[in-house]
C-alpha cells in the first residue's frame, strides 16, 4: 500500500473519531496494538470502519466518503479518443492514467483541503482516492496525454494504426 494512501486512511479514521468524540485522536488511544498486522487485514478493517461510519448521520454530515468516482465524458474524434474527468482541485501529479489492452484506468488522489483552524459543519465535496476504469471502444496507442483544464482532466488517446485503418474502411463503406 502506498504510504500516501496509508496517511489518507489514517486521516479518515481520525476524522471519524473526531466527528464522534469532538476531540482529536490522541496517540496510543487504542487499547491494544498488534505487530506484523497484514496490510490486507488493515485494509479490510478500514473498509469496515468506513462502512460503519457511513451509517452514522453525525459522521456522514462532517466526514466525506473516503474514496469517490469522479464523473467523466468520453468523446470520439477523427484521430483520437478524449476522456474528460471532472476532478476540481486536482493537481496534475496526483492523477495516474494507464492503458491496459482495451481498458483505461484513471486513478489518483484528490487531497483534502485543510480546514485551517475551522471545522466542518457539513461536507459534500469529494476528496481522497479515486478510481475509474473506461472500456476503450477501439485500439489506441498506449501513450495517453494528459491536460488539466479548469478542474477537468483531459486524457487524449491516439488511435492505433489498426484502428485508423478500420475507421477508414468504415468511412469508405459509409461513403
Amino acid at each position: 500500500m502506498h504510504p500516501s494512501t496509508v496517511d489518507l486512511m489514517r486521516s479518515q479514521a481520525r476524522a471519524i473519531y473526531q466527528a464522534l468524540t469532538g476531540t482529536d485522536l490522541p496517540e496510543g488511544e487504542a487499547e491494544h496494538s498488534e505487530s506484523d498486522i497484514p496490510v490486507e487485514e488493515v485494509a479490510r478493517r478500514f473498509a469496515d470502519l468506513e462502512a460503519m461510519a457511513r451509517r452514522i448521520p453525525s459522521v456522514t454530515e462532517v466526514v466525506r466518503c473516503f474514496s469517490f468516482a469522479p464523473p467523466l465524458d468520453v468523446r470520439e474524434g477523427e484521430q483520437q479518443l478524449m476522456i474528460e474527468v471532472a476532478i476540481p482541485g486536482i493537481d496534475r501529479d496526483d492523477v495516474a492514467v494507464e492503458v491496459h489492452e482495451d481498458t483505461l484506468v484513471i486513478s489518483g488522489v484528490l487531497r483534502r483541503r485543510e480546514a485551517n483552524g475551522s471545522s466542518y459543519l457539513h461536507t459534500e465535496i469529494p476528496s481522497g482516492p479515486f478510481y475509474r476504469v473506461v472500456k476503450l471502444p477501439f485500439p489506441v496507442k498506449p501513450e495517453p496525454r494528459l491536460e488539466l483544464d479548469r478542474g477537468i482532466v483531459v486524457i487524449k488517446l491516439s488511435r492505433s494504426p489498426d484502428a485508423r485503418k478500420d475507421r477508414s474502411a468504415e468511412k469508405n463503406e459509409k461513403d
Binding site: 496517511d7 486512511m9 479514521a13 487499547e31 498488534e34
Partner: protein, 425 residues
C-alpha cells in the same frame, strides 16, 4: 521497511480508536466492548449481526404491511359483523323499550330525540363492548395465521426454511399477544364516537317510519296495539339498518386499527423474535454475523484446494495427454512430409548436396513451430473445457459439503452466484 510497518500500526490504531468511538456513540459503554477483530464476539461481529437483525426486521415489517393487515382486517370485519348482529338481536328490543319509557317521561310528552339519544348511548356502549370482545377473540387467531405465513414466506429466502419457521412461530405468538392486548383499547380510541354516531343516525332516520309501519302492522283489532308486539316489530325493522351502519364504521376504521397495532407490535417485538434465531445461527457457526472469517477462509481454502486437486487435476491430465498425442499426430501427418520435402528441395536448389544436419535443423525449426501452435491451441481449448465443466463443480461441492458450507446454507448467500466463475483464458 520499519517506517512502513510503523505507519501501518499507527493506521491500525487509528482505525481501532475510531471503532471504539463508534461503539461508545452507540451506547457501548466506555470502550470495553471493543475487542478487535481477533476474538469471538468482537464488535464487528455484533455489528454485522445487528445489521442482519435490522434487515430482517425491515423484511418482517414489509411482510406484515403487505400481506397481513388487509387479510386480518377482512376476518375481523366478519367477526365484528356477527357480534353486532348478535348484540342487536339480543339487546335491541330491551334497549328500545327502556328508551321509549325514558322518552315518555319528558315534560312535554313523548320526546323522540330523547329516545334516539338513549338508544345511542345504551346501544353504543354494549355494541362497542361486544365488538371489542369479538375482535379480541378472533384477532389472535387471525394474526397468528397470517403473520406466521407471511413471515415464513418473506424470510425463507434469506434465512432458510428452518430459521424462517423459527422466527415466524416466535413472532406470530408475540405479535398476536400484543395485538390482542391492544385491540380493545384501539376500538375504544378509534371507534367509540363513530359507533354511537352511526347508531344515532340510523335511529333518527328510521325510527319514526318503523313505528308507523309497526303500528299499522300491530293494529290487528280494536283498541291500542300490543306494546310488546310493537317493540318487537320496530326492533325487527331497525336491527338491520343499524347493524349495517355500524359495520360500515367498523370497516372504515378497522384497517387503520389493525395496521397500526400490527406495526406497533412488530416494531416492539420483532427484535426479540429475530435475535434468538440469529444467536442460534451464530452459535452454530452458521450465520454470517457470527462467523469467524479467518477460520472459514482457512477451512474453505483447504477444502477447495483439495477438491480442485482431486477433481480438476486428473481431468486436465487426461485431456492434456490426449490432446498432446492427437495434435502431435495431426501435425506430423499434415506437415512433416511438406517440411521435409521443402528442406531437401531448398538444399538441392541452393546447389549443394543434401546435408543431413542442415535438413534436420530446418525440419526441427518448422515442426517445432507448427507443433507449438497446435499444442497451445489444443491445450487452451481442452483446459477451458475442463475448467468450465469441473472447476465450478469442484468449488461448489467443497463449499457446500465442507464444515463451513453451513455458513452459506440458509439462503443468505447465493452459492451459485458466489461461485459463478468464468472459464480462464
Amino acid at each position: 521497511m520499519e517506517q512502513q510497518m510503523g505507519n501501518m500500526q499507527r493506521l491500525n490504531q487509528a482505525i481501532m480508536a475510531a471503532m471504539q468511538a463508534i461503539n461508545r456513540s452507540q451506547g457501548g459503554g466506555t470502550g470495553t466492548r471493543f475487542q478487535g477483530w481477533q476474538g469471538q464476539g468482537g464488535d464487528l461481529q455484533s455489528w454485522q449481526q445487528e445489521q442482519m437483525a435490522q434487515k430482517l426486521k425491515e423484511r418482517v415489517r414489509e411482510a406484515v404491511r403487505e400481506r397481513v393487515a388487509d387479510e386480518v382486517k377482512e376476518r375481523l370485519v366478519e367477526a365484528a359483523r356477527l357480534k353486532i348482529r348478535e348484540t342487536l338481536r339480543e339487546r335491541f328490543a330491551q334497549e328500545l323499550r327502556s328508551a321509549i319509557v325514558e322518552g315518555q317521561q319528558g315534560p312535554s310528552g313523548f320526546d323522540f330525540d330523547r329516545v334516539c339519544t338513549v338508544l345511542r348511548d345504551r346501544l353504543g356502549d354494549v355494541v362497542e363492548r361486544r365488538i371489542a370482545e369479538g375482535l379480541r377473540e378472533r384477532v389472535g387467531e387471525a394474526v397468528r395465521e397470517r403473520v406466521g405465513e407471511a413471515i415464513r414466506t418473506k424470510l425463507s429466502d434469506q434465512l432458510g426454511p428452518e430459521d424462517a419457521e423459527m422466527v415466524a412461530s416466535e413472532l406470530k405468538e408475540r405479535v398476536a399477544d400484543a395485538v390482542r392486548n391492544r385491540i380493545e383499547e384501539a376500538v375504544r380510541e378509534r371507534m367509540h364516537d363513530a359507533i354511537r354516531e352511526r347508531i344515532h343516525q340510523a335511529v333518527r332516520e328510521r325510527l319514526a317510519e318503523a313505528f308507523q309501519s309497526a303500528m299499522s302492522q300491530a293494529q290487528t283489532g280494536f283498541g291500542p296495539p300490543d306494546p310488546e308486539r310493537l317493540i318487537s316489530l320496530v326492533s325487527e325493522r331497525l336491527q338491520e339498518p343499524i347493524g349495517e351502519r355500524v359495520i360500515e364504521a367498523v370497516k372504515e376504521r378497522l384497517a387503520d386499527v389493525v395496521r397500526d397495532r400490527l406495526e406497533e407490535a412488530v416494531r416492539e417485538r420483532a427484535s426479540d423474535a429475530i435475535r434468538p434465531a440469529l444467536l442460534q445461527r451464530a452459535s452454530g457457526g452458521k450465520y454470517p454475523g457470527g462467523f469467524d472469517p479467518q477460520a472459514i477462509t482457512s477451512q474453505l481454502r483447504e477444502r477447495v484446494a483439495a477438491n480442485i486437486r482431486e477433481r480438476v487435476a486428473p481431468a486436465i491430465r487426461e485431456r492434456v495427454e490426449s490432446v498432446v498425442r492427437d495434435r502431435i499426430e495431426e501435425t506430423l501427418r499434415d506437415r512433416l512430409s511438406t517440411v521435409l520435402r521443402a528442406a531437401i528441395v531448398e538444399q538441392i536448389s541452393s546447389g549443394g548436396t543434401p546435408d543431413p544436419d542442415r535438413i534436420s535443423e530446418v525440419v526441427h525449426a518448422r515442426v517445432r513451430e507448427a507443433l507449438r501452435e497446435r499444442l497451445v491451441e489444443g491445450l487452451r481449448e481442452r483446459i477451458d473445457e475442463v475448467l468450465g465443466e469441473r472447476l465450478r463443480e469442484a468449488i461448489r461441492t467443497a463449499v457446500r459439503e465442507g464444515g463451513p458450507s453451513a455458513t452459506f446454507s440458509g439462503g443468505n448467500y447465493d452459492v451459485g452466484s458466489f461461485l459463478n466463475l468464468q472459464p480462464m483464458h
